[in-house]
Amino acid sequence: MSKPILEVKDLHAGIENNEILKGINLTIKPGEVHAIMGPNGSGKSTLSSVIAGNETYDVIKGDILFEGESILDLSPEERAHKGIFMSFQYPVEIPGVTTTNFIKAAINAKRKSQGLEDLPAKDMLKMIKEKSELLEMDRKFLSRSLNQGFSGGEKKRNEIFQMAMLEPKLAILDETDSGLDIDALKIVANGVNKLKNKDNAVLVITHYQRLLDYIVPDFVHVLHNGKIIKSGGKELAHELEEKGYDWLK
């Protein structure tokens, strides 16, 4: 049995006095794909934000361990340096900063935290070429301002491209399917599958089952009212698709 990448232990968290997560337990091991499903307002996005370290949320109780160590006291950037990546539901736009420049800043910030020099430009270019070919992406978007004027599909593909460049140990896909048509969904899912290996893990957060047709989970967890009320294999996702969430409440 390999050591878990992520362990969430009795996690209670919320905004100010409003408790949203009410005791989450979750263990993710290398090579695994987990899906968290649940209706709107069940706390799915809160969970991903808290793992990523968004300071809007307060952790009330419990712990989050990454490779065996608590990360609760770490800043979002320190968590990123350790290998946590989140694909945002709504990626932000940064006018005037090209995607290339942005990813360069991100990669070099991580390298700096590891005591490494900046990645030489030619290695960066080579990596960009490889990853964009792997994801079958047009490199033209790299010279455009980050996410500015991008379609929904382009924004999500850009998230996956950044994931490919940063090579995280844990990738959290927060509602990556929202706003995507079926073609875009396939491309994004295909990219994630190519990046998946025995050493990393993926946590898919989604409302609908359709993304899970393409990114097939090993485990499915149903989140309701801040708690995981049922866990199972991939067939649970199909069951939810047929019956909805009500039968579980």
């Binding site: 370290g53 979002p76 990123a80 932000v92 940064i94 005037g96 900063v97 991100a106 070099n108 950044q162």
Partner: protein, 482 residues
Amino acid sequence: MSKYTEEDLKKELENQEYEYGFYSDLNAETFPKGLNEEVIIAISKKKNEPQWMTEWRLDAYRIWKNMEEPDWANVNYPKPDFQAISYYSAPKPKKQLDSLDEVDDELLKMYEKLGISINEQKRLAGVAMDIVVDSVSVATTFKKTLAEKGILFMPISEAIQKHPDLVKKYLGTIVPKTDNFYAALNSAVFTDGSFCYIPKGVKCPMELSTYFRINEGGTGQFERTLLIADKGSYVSYLEGCTAPQRDENQLHAAVVELIALDDAEIKYSTVQNWYPGDKNGKGGVFNFVTKRGLCETNAKISWTQVETGSAVTWKYPSCILKGDNSVGEFYSIAVTNNYQQADTGTKMIHLGKNTKSTIISKGVSAGKSQNSYRGLVQVHNKAENARNFSQCDSLLMGDKCGAHTFPYIECKNNTAQIEHEATTSKIGEDQIFYCNQRGIDTDKAIALIVNGFSKEVLNKLPMEFAVEARKLLEISLEGSVG
């Protein structure tokens, strides 16, 4: 310019205090405080000036005495006591300086702290330095290379003696003594600055660069720059400022006059980093500057400025588009943090036919600062087919700062086309978190966002200057969020 590495950046990020806030103890000679006709005569004598120059100064002084300090700008500050300022301060000249060996050691150390050691500058072909410490130029380089092209580049005090005809012909023609309070004061008491003349048809082979420094506590600095580009010539001029930390306010009232004759082009770039005061608004430089250029037929003047320093800034680099088909440009980034106040912009005066002007102004406000754009686009009745495009963008950080835009348009010719665009945006927590999640810390994230916002202007700067400007933006805004 010194090479810029991540390590330098890291050092600067760790240093919360003003980067260049040190004080060099030069063996300075400083006049007693106060201003009257005797002081002006003494300044003129000190500079070995001819009689006509002394008279010119006295005339300016008499005009100034009857003027009042303007108060229409969107800035608040205690009015300086002009009798409490010393109007002359110079490192004691030991003898005529021919090489660096003869330069004061303290002075050389200061250059090193600034990262602009002259040795390095000399090696860096393409940049000629006329370094001004306090009010007297102490080292001029690349003079010979320039001389071969017939280019004159020297301290203005030297030009007054060596090229009195040129100085007499142009000094005060673009910014007259009567122009405004600070310009009149400058005309009376200026002690140094640069003079530059590019002969007909000559393309200046290097960027001309001047570093200004305020050094002595309590001394004001009144620089005077006169730049003449003769017919068909081209010059790119860089001006950068740093100043040591001081508790009392320091007054800086410079005048810059540019003359672009027929078919000439002048690019004038400034990175201004005067001491802005501490985070409580104590100290800092008052920067009241008059900069103006005149374009004759087919001439072009382009102002690019990055303003990150000074407690109070009052500055409107302008173009008088006198000749037909002449072009004026103004690209500006003004950053204010803590209690800084900036009221800056431009005036584009269209007199000739088919004249064109472009204004791109980027204001970034953080802390409790106030940042105002004030611009005038004036089209006179004979300026057929004049065109102007103005864009004013403001970026806000936090909820205690202010961004203001005061665009004035006066148009007396109905063939003119004038466009004005303005935007205001705020650096959002979501943007910062997104960057953090990618491993980029908050200070670096702000630098990235601000650099992106300012890109159109940064791209107009000569490359080495742009590197320095990016660093300055980053230092100026560090710790301003969170």
